[in-house]
């Protein structure tokens, strides 16, 4: 387990992590909803479960529904003090 990330590190990590899963080629707008990159409802729940495996805390299954952009999601993950184990 690595040290806790600050907000910018978390944003960078999330952009890299989600871009890889969603095969986003031209970068992600941190304020755009994930649906812009093709993420729908059930697959968003599965991706949240994958992210949960890689951070140090339990996450709500609807994480990516509730925090619908990279910025919102990164803020939440920093707020709850999650580490990135990956």
């Amino acid at each position: 387990m690595s040290k806790a990330k600050d907000l910018n590190e978390m944003k960078d990590w999330l952009i890299k992590r989600i871009s890889t899963s969603l095969k986003v080629k031209n970068g992600m707008d941190p304020d755009a909803p994930f649906s812009k990159y093709g993420l729908q409802s059930i697959d968003a729940v599965i991706l949240a479960m994958e992210i949960e495996e890689e951070v140090g805390v339990e996450l709500p299954p609807t994480l990516l529904w509730e925090y619908n952009t990279v910025n919102e999601c990164a803020s939440y993950l920093v707020k709850i003090g999650s580490d990135i184990a990956a």
């Binding site: 968003a44 729940v45 991706l47 479960m49 299954p61 529904w65």
Partner: protein
């Protein structure tokens, strides 16, 4: 915790209801074939049947016991729906919109639950599910129906179509967008009592003429700035999609009971012909082609019964996995039954095409009515898609097994009690591996140890173990394919992924048959428990769905299968695992 027991030979609800309803070929009985023919031909709403069902207190079976109803388990509710569907699928579907009440039992407040229980049981309430829209079909998140916050509630504007019971029903579950910028969290669910709405602010679309279920009220509803109270919101604002998807899990599995009832009638009315009609000096049933189709149909019914029954028990035993079981059941059972009915039409010949004559033209009506089941409440494509999204994540969860034996017992052993249903434990995606597939090894080990101790027919057990081993290899190949796969998302999945999902359902069906027999074979001395059906059933699934052919195994089993089919027919018993006694007067 409330406990429910269902034994392999105990079919109390089915037999009581069958006895009450009598022989559907008798026009004087409620929900008779003659009645079914009348409402189909005249496209009339089945008012008389629905009145009889409320008079007989059957609506109580949708209401949990703690709210004064009679609901104890999904297996029992499935039994009831199957009995109704074998008589008239149209009336069964019309009545069964009551299963949308599980949205309230899952997500409602105590007050909403009490109100709905009273509405159903005392005021004979009925409901519709207003999700679909003309331009968006299954794409629920794209809803154009808007619910705007007001000072004392919401104001709804939008159109829902096509909706079963949108017109002839007092309650409406409406999915609407409360926050257009919030994605999946932007939808909310409302439970609307139409009698409390301003009649000038909503209207119904006319009944749509349909291929089957012609008596049904398939119509639609339109809201124009329609004020609704804040109390009509079900769950919290923004939780609508989550609640809707969990509700679908329940109703998708129950839909299989409609298909099973239709399948029983299609086989029975065909047998009534095949056992009496002579061609070339032989009874039709003795002609090799007809014998093949009829025995295949019997196997299909037994396979689908195993899949449905365990699927319904899974809601109590492993609700964390229900997103898998529900989609598998909803894909596999209706599509298998629909193909089976189509195949049987060849045996019935010209009579299949007649809207009268042989048993009130029942066959062609069943063929048309049953065809809607794979379409509604999540179509075949929707269910396969919901499964394929989970393959990678499931393959990565294989190591965590916990108390698998206890879970398998609760799902498959029909003498084992299932826990009371807890709606809040339903999960949007499975948080556990699929116990039917990952438990095959456990059940086979159990069978092996029983064989070592004492068994009457070791050669048959060895054949079953050999099929079980092949099944494990196929399951292993599926997992190996997906464990290293990439994350898949969205709706643009490949045709190959759909084929993989179909194979996955077939693996689950084969595993369900295997577990069902292993966990119940000592429960009774029935044909099912003796097990002669199991190897041909597995061979049929391998043959049809996995491209592994065992024609010799199936052909060798036909005489015994046909003998049992004739016995069940003669004794007027259901073509099912339970072989329940049917209404005869």
């Amino acid at each position: 915790m409330n406990q429910v027991t269902t034994a392999i030979t105990k079919t109390t609800l089915t037999e009581a209801l069958e006895s009450q309803l009598g022989d559907p070929n008798n026009p004087d009985n409620p929900l008779s074939f003659a009645y079914s023919q009348k409402i189909d031909e005249t496209e009339q709403f089945p008012e008389e049947a629905i009145r009889w069902l409320y008079d007989s207190q059957l609506a109580r079976h949708y209401v949990p016991k703690e709210l004064g109803g009679a609901f104890r388990s999904f297996s029992e509710l499935g039994e009831m729906i199957r009995v109704l569907s074998r008589r008239d699928a149209s009336s069964a579907v019309t009545f069964s919109t009551l299963f949308w009440s599980f949205l309230t039992w899952t997500g409602g407040t105590d007050e909403q639950k009490r109100w709905l229980a009273d509405y159903i049981m005392e005021r004979r309430g009925a409901m519709c599910l207003a999700y679909s829209e003309r331009d968006h079909g299954a794409d629920l998140a794209a809803s154009d129906t808007i619910a705007r916050r007001t000072a004392d509630g919401f104001e709804i504007t939008g159109e829902k179509w096509p909706i079963n019971r949108a017109t002839v029903g007092g309650l409406c579950f409406v999915l609407a967008t409360t926050d257009p910028s919030a994605g999946p969290r932007g939808l909310s669910l409302f439970m609307l009592d139409k009698s409390e709405l301003d009649p000038k602010r909503y209207s119904n679309f006319p009944k749509i003429l349909t291929h089957g279920m012609r008596g049904s009220d398939i119509s639609g509803i339109k809201f124009e700035h329609c004020p609704v109270s804040a109390q009509s919101l079900l769950g919290r604002e923004g939780e609508g999609l989550q609640l809707a998807l969990r509700g679908f899990q329940i109703t998708r599995a129950l839909c299989a009971a409609i298909s099973l009832g239709a399948g029983d009638t299609a086989l029975r009315t065909t047998l009534n012909f095949a056992l009496n009609r002579k061609l070339y000096d032989e009874l039709v049933i003795d002609l090799p082609h007809a014998a093949g189709v009829l025995s295949d149909a019997f196997l299909d019914l037994l396979i689908c019964d195993c899949v449905t029954n365990s699927g319904l028990r899974s809601f109590h035993a492993v609700p964390e996995q229900s997103s898998l079981w529900a989609s598998i059941v909803k894909y596999f059972v209706p599509t298998t039954m629909e193909t089976m009915i189509q195949n049987l039409s060849v045996v019935l010949g010209a009579r299949y095409y007649m809207r009268e004559e042989h048993e009130f033209g029942t066959f062609q009506r069943v063929l048309r009515d049953a065809a809607v089941v794979s379409l509604f409440d999540g179509s075949t494509v929707v269910n396969l898609h919901a499964l394929m999204l989970q393959f990678r994540h499931l393959a990565r969860r294989l190591g965590v097994r916990g108390d698998q034996g206890s879970r398998l017992g609760q799902i498959f052993d029909m003498n084992t009690t299932v826990p009371a249903w807890k709606g809040q434990r339903l999960s949007l995606v499975s948080t556990q591996a699929n116990d039917a597939l990952e438990g095959v090894e456990y059940s086979l080990e159990r069978l092996k140890s029983e064989r070592a101790e004492n068994t009457a027919n070791p050669a048959e057990i060895d054949r079953i173990l050999a099929f079980g081993k092949k099944l494990m290899l196929e399951i292993g190949a599926h997992n190996a394919k997906f464990i290293e796969s990439e994350f898949e998302h969205g709706h643009l999945q490949s045709a190959a992924m759909f084929r993989a999902a179909q194979r996955y359902c077939a693996l689950h069906a084969a595993a369900s048959c295997l577990h069902a027999w292993i966990w119940n074979r000592t429960n009774s001395s029935s044909f099912f428990a003796r097990g002669a059906w199991l190897v041909p059933a597995l061979a049929r699934i391998f043959d049809k769905h996995l491209g592994i052919h065992h024609d010799d195994v199936i052909d060798a089993s036909r005489p015994e299968l046909l003998q049992e089919l004739r016995t069940l027919h003669r004794d007027n018993r259901m073509f099912s695992v339970s072989a329940a006694a049917l209404g005869s007067n």
